[in-house]
């Protein structure tokens, strides 16, 4: 086309564009339909001048990048969370998603066509793999292909692909779904034994590779994954070489990454001489991994050092001793790890197999190779392995097998120091009575002999003989009684001394599977069979002792068996009312109580008590003991009046008979005080408990378990009365004592910790409460296991604490765990399962996981409807929660319907002021607000705040949340001044009561800032938002609220005309919101639109019309 013609076209084109819109359209139509070709040309150009104004406005680079990303998506592949464009395919493997990234490159999950399988595709960063190295690698990959071991991730292929932007080296390997070694350790809370067993497997895998001629050089937790069945898999054999720096080549990974790997490198490796590196370097790395696995930290701290210092540390410093980290590690474990970590490789284990072998020896309690065996060392080992036999059962066994004769000196060991206070006297008492009876019978024989003597005058020898025999009989009886006593004492003192820590164990602790005493007991119980045919009463007495010991160990079925046997023997031989029989009955009843078979316990104890009262009298120690036992059973059953009666009476007797300051009397006082407290009879409880405590402190000492228990009870009383300061003081004292005397893990210690945590929580000392709960939970998990009901209760409480602190991310895993266990152990229909579902739904909802939350709530609602009924408060609370969630999802009709119903019923069933009703009220109020029904919302929310103020107090979290909602309402109605006043006041309180990091406080800050922006108080808004952002950046940097805050900050800056400062935050805020829009609750959706608008307005005010227009398009499209 000639230049002239073209110029005419241009002219016409531009002048046509000056026309009005309607005219332009006509012009186009007319021009295109006409004969003039020039006009036709112009017409067609004009036709394409309308429409999308953003055509070609975005730079080509962005277009290219986006189309790259999109083409991958179009092929049915999802991108990854970072928004980076994924390559579609590499080398014939179809990329699915990103698994991880490292210094070397990116690892994708990919699909192979032939054979059809999922693989892990590791793509090396271009620039890192020079052709030289690639050639070397391909050579080595043949060897890699030969590696076939369960513990090594198989490599399928190593190659390069051409993606159009240069050669892309990669290799495809076995896809392993698992966790890295350190994560696995944490997640599964492995015990020492399990950790060691895991390491053995790793060593075996490494050994296999060594035998195939390959050294790993980069063994670290990130390279050791553990799959779902607990099999460790080692990654990247030989690959480490690709990242190796040749001498003189300055290109290397970022120094942070290098140092990270450095921690696992042997001294010869860090020096860099490749000739010095052999299989023993891998052994060293295994040692570091083992150390870390056991200790939870690295042997040397190199991360904070510069490279040269780090190298020096590895080469010269000694690792922190393992025994200083945990006591169990002293001795063999420490030795093994030490030998693996030897700096001189000649002194290390020569191979991974040797290391594995020594670990195995340790696990089998065999002497390890790492130490030269001396005689005493062997004996020590033997002793530990067969401890029980050496100390306990053997002696008992000897007693039973050899007969009755046994030297008392041998039998009785003075082990009183390790005995804790007894709560059961029956054993000793029974044994004594038993022995006494035998002696009585012998005395009878003697008397008979004496009588006979008068008759048989002539046969003096015979008489003498008779007397001798009687004497012998008496002697034997004495012996027997002494023996029985000895046996019993032996069993009690020696055997049970080993279980002395368990003596005070309550019904809620798990039996220790390793305890050798149990083996001893089992053998003793078994050997009693048939050995005491002639001495059934001795048998009964032994069974009684053994049965009570079983009970102390928590082995209730065995205990019951023995005690029942003892009882039936005595019943048969001595009769129903015999003191010994009663003693057995008492013991059995207590056993039933431990097993929560309360009706049986109650019946039996009543019988015992009746008889004992009748036969022995009210003041007899045995009678008193049964009284206490029965009172405890009544307490458990909730029959407080009966319990109170018994305890009052027994206290009176004890005071009279034993005196005021005797331990029994004092214990009685405490028990009665506890009973008063449970019935909220505070005025009666306090004097009793204070008196008991001071007397016990004086008589027994501050560290005596009885004293500590009373302290605990009194502290709990103060707590119930609301006297927090005193309560806290006592709890702390009791806790210190418990820790000292009973140890950190004792159930009694944990009880106090739990109570104290609750107190802290009520006082608002969240950090202290959290600290305690965490400790308790840790201990319970360790001692009782994850599934024990006590552990679950603590888990639940801790998650609720997190909830009130706004730590939703920490709450979630705990609540999820509780749900998982309840589901598994109680099934899907159980009310407790429903509770767990409800509790987990809450953090989900607050984190924006609406679908999951809804599913849980629907489930919980269905269960509660079915099991508890449609009008049960719990069902209704779940309903109210579901309504709130509907609102957040934008389903307002459903939200309103559900909230209305729940409120209506709750008002009827629980009254207008009940906390449950208030939950429904706030749910409905906020629904009304989001529907724009402001008048109704205001009436409800105002009432809510008033009621909560009255019932919970001015500074309770519930009241503060209500006020926040009211403030938001005012803001929605445009009542900015009122909103500002309310929210401002609220913020002051929030700061003080909740702290600036609390989500509720952040919400108030954001709302206040919005209002202030409306009022053009830009500087004030800036201050408030900065405060919020400060907290958000630390606590929830990835949340939509953080980016919302940025947008608000930007707006406040723009309002002050600080455009340069405003620009980056506004854009970052908008972008951040856009990416997280799925987590924004529905009725807050406008924050995204607002943030886009703010960017546009910024550029407009700034005078950058071009950019403003561009942004306007972008925003509109979104």
């Amino acid at each position: 086309m000639e230049t002239e013609r073209w110029r005419k076209i241009e002219q016409l084109y531009h002048s046509a564009l000056q026309l009005e819109e309607g005219q332009l359209a006509d012009f186009i139509k007319e021009a295109r339909g006409g004969d003039d070709s020039l006009r036709r040309e112009v017409g067609s150009l004009l036709a394409h001048s309308e429409g999308d104004r953003s055509f070609l406005e975005a730079p080509a680079l962005d277009v290219a990048a986006k189309s790259l990303a999109r083409s991958v998506t179009a092929a049915g592949v999802t991108g990854n969370s970072t928004g980076r464009p994924l390559p579609g395919a590499i080398g014939g493997y179809r990329i699915l998603r990103v698994l991880g990234e490292g210094a070397m490159g990116i690892v994708y999950e990919a699909e192979q066509e032939e054979p059809r399988r999922s693989v892990a595709l590791k793509v090396i960063r271009p620039g890192l793999a020079t052709p030289e190295r690639l050639r070397r690698f391909r050579h080595e990959s043949e060897a890699l292909g030969r590696l076939q071991h369960a513990g090594i991730a198989q490599i399928y292929e190593a190659n390069t692909a051409d993606t159009g932007l240069g050669p892309q080296p990669y290799f495809a390997m076995e896809l392993i779904r698992g966790q890295s070694l350190d994560n696995y350790r944490e997640a599964h809370r492995l015990k020492t034994r399990q950790r060691l067993e895991l390491m053995v497997k790793v060593c075996e895998a490494v050994q296999h590779a060594h035998q195939c001629g390959l050294i790993h050089r980069d063994l670290k937790p990130a390279n050791i994954l553990v799959d779902e069945v607990g099999q460790p898999k080692i990654l990247d054999f030989g690959v480490a070489r690709l990242a190796e720096t040749d001498a003189g080549d300055t290109q290397q990974t970022e120094s942070g990454e290098l140092i990270g790997t450095l921690a696992y490198m042997s001294p010869e490796q860090v020096l860099g001489d490749p000739l010095e590196v052999d299989t023993r370097s891998d052994v060293y790395s295994l040692g570091v991994n083992l150390y870390e696995l056991l200790a939870g930290r690295l042997p040397y701290e190199v991360s904070s050092r510069q490279l040269p210092q780090a190298v020096q540390t590895i080469r010269e410093e000694d690792p922190a001793s393992l025994s200083s980290i945990r006591n169990d590690y002293r001795g063999d474990i420490e030795t093994i790890v030490g030998k693996a970590l030897e700096k001189d490789k000649a002194r290390r284990y020569a191979s991974a197999a040797d290391l594995a072998a020594d670990i195995r020896r340790y696990l089998n309690d065999e002497p390890i190779a790492a130490r030269s065996p001396t005689a005493s060392y062997h004996l020590q080992k033997f002793a530990r392995r067969h401890r029980a036999i050496v100390a306990g059962v053997a002696a008992v066994f000897v007693v039973l097998v050899a007969g009755v004769a046994v030297s008392t000196a041998e039998a009785i060991r003075a082990n009183r120091a390790s005995r804790a206070a007894l709560t059961e006297r029956d054993r000793a008492a029974a044994a004594e009575i038993e022995a006494k009876q035998e002696r009585d019978r012998a005395l009878e024989a003697e008397r008979a002999a004496a009588n006979d003597r008068n008759r048989a005058v002539a046969a003096e020898a015979g008489a003498v003989q008779e007397r001798n025999r009687a004497l012998t009989q008496k002697q034997r009886a004495d012996d027997e009684s002494a023996t029985a006593k000895a046996i019993n004492s032996f069993l009690q003192q020696d055997l049970l001394a080993q279980a002395s820590a368990n003596r005070q164990a309550r019904r809620d602790s798990m039996p220790d599977p390793d305890l050798k005493v149990r083996t001893a007991l089992d053998r003793a119980a078994a050997s009693i069979e048939g050995k005491f045919g002639k001495q059934p009463l001795v048998e009964a007495s032994m069974r009684l002792t053994i049965g009570v010991t079983y009970r102390d160990l928590g082995l209730y079925p065995q205990a019951q068996q023995q005690l029942e046997a003892a009882l039936s023997l005595r019943r048969r031989l001595l009769g129903e009312d015999h003191p010994d029989t009663l003693g057995s009955m008492n013991a059995l009843a207590v056993q039933y109580a431990y097993q929560s078979k309360l009706p049986q316990a109650e019946a039996m104890l009543n019988r015992v008590l009746d008889t004992r009262r009748r036969v022995l009298g009210d003041s007899h120690p045995s009678t008193l003991e049964s009284t206490s036992a029965l009172a405890q059973v009544y307490d458990e059953e909730g029959q407080y009046p009966k319990a109170e009666l018994l305890l009052t009476k027994s206290l009176e007797v004890r005071r009279r008979v034993l005196g005021e300051d005797r331990p029994d009397t004092l214990r009685n006082m405490t028990d009665l005080g506890w009973l008063y407290r449970e019935q909220a009879k505070f005025k009666q409880a306090e004097p009793l408990l204070t008196k008991s405590l001071s007397a016990q402190t004086r008589v027994l000492g501050e560290s005596h378990p009885d004293t500590l228990y009373t302290m605990h009870v009194l502290a709990s009383l103060y707590n119930a009365k609301g006297e927090s300061a005193q309560s806290e003081l006592l709890y702390t004292r009791a806790l210190e004592g418990q820790r000292r005397v009973l140890g950190e893990s004792h159930p009694e210690t944990l009880d106090v910790m739990n109570d104290l945590a609750l107190l802290y929580w009520n006082e608002g000392k969240y950090a202290s409460a959290e600290d305690l709960y965490t400790k308790v939970l840790e201990t319970q998990r360790h001692v009782l296991g994850d599934e024990h009901s006590h552990t679950l209760v603590t888990m639940n409480n801790l998650s609720a604490l997190y909830q009130s602190q706004g730590k939703y991310a920490q709450e979630e895993p705990l609540a999820a765990k509780v749900l998982e266990v309840r589901r598994r152990t109680l099934g899907n229909e159980h009310p407790l399962t429903a509770t767990a579902m409800n509790n987990l739904a809450i953090p989900y909802g607050l984190e924006g996981k609406y679908l999951e939350s809804a599913a849980l709530l629907d489930n919980a609602l269905a269960i509660r409807r079915r099991v508890l009924g449609a009008e049960h408060p719990l069902t209704l609370v779940t309903m109210a929660n579901r309504a709130t969630l509907y609102r957040m999802q934008g389903q307002t009709p459903e939200a309103e319907a559900l909230a209305t119903r729940s409120l209506e019923i709750l008002q009827r069933v629980e009254g207008a002021e009940h906390s449950d009703t208030l939950i429904a009220m706030i749910a409905l109020g906020t629904v009304y607000r989001s529907e724009g029904k402001y008048a109704q919302a205001e009436s409800l929310l105002t009432k809510l705040v008033e009621l909560r103020r009255r019932t919970l107090g001015e500074e309770h979290l519930g009241t503060l949340l209500g006020m926040y909602q009211l403030g938001v309402l005012y803001s929605s109605q445009g009542r900015y001044a009122e909103a500002e006043a309310l929210l401002g006041r609220l913020l002051e309180v929030d700061r003080r009561v909740l702290g600036t990091a609390h989500p509720a406080a952040n919400d108030v800050m954001a709302a206040l800032a919005e209002v202030q922006l409306q009022l053009a108080k830009y500087a004030a808004a800036e201050t408030v938002v900065r405060e919020a952002l400060n907290a958000l950046e630390k606590t929830r940097p990835d949340s939509w609220q953080r980016y919302y805050g940025e947008s608000l900050l930007g707006a406040s800056l723009a309002g002050q005309r600080r455009y340069e400062e405003a620009e980056p935050v506004l854009i970052s805020g908008h972008e951040g919101l856009r990416q997280r829009q799925a987590t924004v609750p529905f009725d807050s959706r406008r924050v995204l639109m607002d943030s886009g608008e703010r960017v546009v307005r910024l550029y407009q005010s700034w005078g950058k019309a071009d950019t403003a227009a561009q942004w306007r398009e972008n925003v509109r499209i979104e």
Binding site: P59, L61, V63, A65, S67, L68
Partner: protein, 199 residues
Amino acid sequence: MILSTQRQSSPHQLTGLLQDWSEGRQDALDELIPVVYDDLYRLARRYMYDERPGHTLQATALVNEAYLRLSDSANPDWQSRTHFFAVCGRIMRRILVDWARSRKALKRGSNEPPLELHDAVAVTGRSGVDLVAIDDALGALAVQDQRKSQIVEMRFFAGLSVKQTAEVLRVSEETVLRDWKLAKSWLRRELTREPFHGN
């Protein structure tokens, strides 16, 4: 595609060449390109595979970075920078179009759908804008009107603003805007046309 030999560029060389080119010496461009190419290529690759796209500000920052690296940053000459951007437009076009062509070839090999040729009138950046097609169309436009083709190169491939483009070409901003508008209409028409060119 020009495969450059590895050349170290000295800052003065760059400025000198840019000066020459701005004074009208076309062959200065031929010397400039290899100098800049490597850097841009590496940067572009990094951008696409490693950096986060989505910030429209980033693309220009990339070219800026190249300029800072290659030029005498102790003495930033804004005019020189503008010219540099113009050159980059040319180079970026080559890099990206080559890449787009190679991807098309790749895709035809495997069983994946080709880069979609969406309605080019539709939204930029969110639907497919076929770079290869644009390159072809731009070539045709250059025959018709060289300045307009240059403007598109600078604005679209190098990300220059209207103001900067005006500076480089020594025309008014209004002229740039008018040319830009017409060029876009032309390209849009060209892209929606059937392969057969009828006039």
